[in-house]
């Protein structure tokens, strides 16, 4: 294993988590002191990333970063874009930061996103925190653009593939599923029609349990069966324009 890093190839991870308040992103605090300990020259937030080892795959680099950040080995993930414009790293803070790391100022970053329920992350890495996607802090590099691109990509995936379940625990209520769609797609859905549509799917399996601990009528729990989904998806009706 060659642990030297490429100075010009990095991986950035957009870790997307869902909880009852909506879609959250897991960000890392970036702080750099030069002159004194009180006023850092760099003090903002970034997507968690790292340069790629000489002997690891891109996917492996992404999962290594994800594990350092969340302590988790597995989650749904997808490489969605590479960012490599020459002026990606141009403002003073970013240049100072890059020089302090000893890597190149022209770096190609391969971007991944990860999708999971926020509650699944038990041990957060130091200097990292969840932020609601509608209320992000000051971000370094072109990371706001990368986040926007990740959001568009996962929205498209959520609309056409059974990816929404990656954001939910194994057992979920119909309303939790609806709120997941509403948070991620940014739409409102009629609850009665939504239930009807979802219950009709063979791969949404009702289990004999209720969501307890709520103030009102307990809701039935359901599970998503990937096996049944694969076996029953004809994917007719393929032209949706």
């Amino acid at each position: 294993m060659d642990f030297r890093k490429f100075p010009n190839i990095s991986v950035d991870c957009v870790v997307m988590g869902l909880d009852h308040t909506g879609l959250q992103l897991l960000l890392s605090k970036r702080t750099l002191h030069m002159y004194d300990d009180q006023y850092p020259v760099v003090d903002d937030w970034v997507l968690t990333g790292d340069h790629v080892f000489k002997s690891e795959k891109l996917d492996e680099a992404a999962n290594r970063i994800f594990k350092l950040l969340t302590g988790l080995n597995t989650s749904y993930y997808r490489q969605f874009r590479a960012f490599g414009n020459p002026e990606r790293i141009k403002n003073d803070r970013d240049l100072l930061w890059v020089k302090s790391l000893g890597v190149d100022t022209r770096t190609i970053s391969v971007a991944y996103y990860f999708a999971l329920p926020v509650e699944q992350v038990k041990t957060l890495a130091p200097h990292s925190a969840w932020y609601p996607i509608q209320d992000l802090p000051e971000l370094g590099f072109d990371h706001r653009e990368i986040i926007q691109s990740a959001l568009l990509d996962i929205q498209e995936k959520v609309m056409n593939d059974p990816i929404i379940f990656e954001f939910l625990p194994d057992k979920f209520t119909l309303n939790e599923l609806q709120h997941a769609y509403e948070s991620i797609l940014g739409v409102e859905i009629d609850n009665r029609n939504f239930r009807k549509k979802i219950i009709a799917k063979p791969y949404i399996v009702s289990i004999n349990e209720k969501r307890i601990g709520t103030a009102k009528k307990p809701a039935n729990l359901y599970m998503f069966s990937k096996d049944i989904f694969i076996k029953t998806s004809d994917k007719h009706q393929i032209i949706n324009i």
Copy 2:
């Protein structure tokens, strides 16, 4: 402008063309002679690609390659994946080839595809040729995997976005549109239902012209109006699972 190239960052272009026989790919012949002029040590086909200039954007590199290949300045294109496994370049032919170019054996390749009608390419670059996607020649590197990945991505795009029209001339018949869908998605479509569905779209505009020079009844020509599409697409019906 800095014309030095990154030795470890390249761009590969999957140029997809459609004609009446189906989907075609534009490939480049790769030949390397070492010992004599008769038996080349490398003699196969590859996707057209190049290493990225130090001062150009990834998109610019892709379009530079596309222009060299086809003579065209514009076409629909999309960056769909980066390929960067350490063992991407491992067999003897690929290693010989890479060494002859003086670039690194571990290279991250950012892959783009382009979509256009075959007829639009008037001047083909030397040592390049169209190949039907079902009948590709021997390919170098991991280019068969890149092509497969490009095909899956564009199929998904064709199903959910008005991308099919990129493969057709401005004016097309309904049957040409149907055959485009059938070639790219690999499905059979009922002609009568297809016509009904397409004609009902406000952005498919009937023009008062016929496709002439055919042996049978001349077909009416239609155009796709991007303006009308954008203005009329509610994109309701967003959950397609």
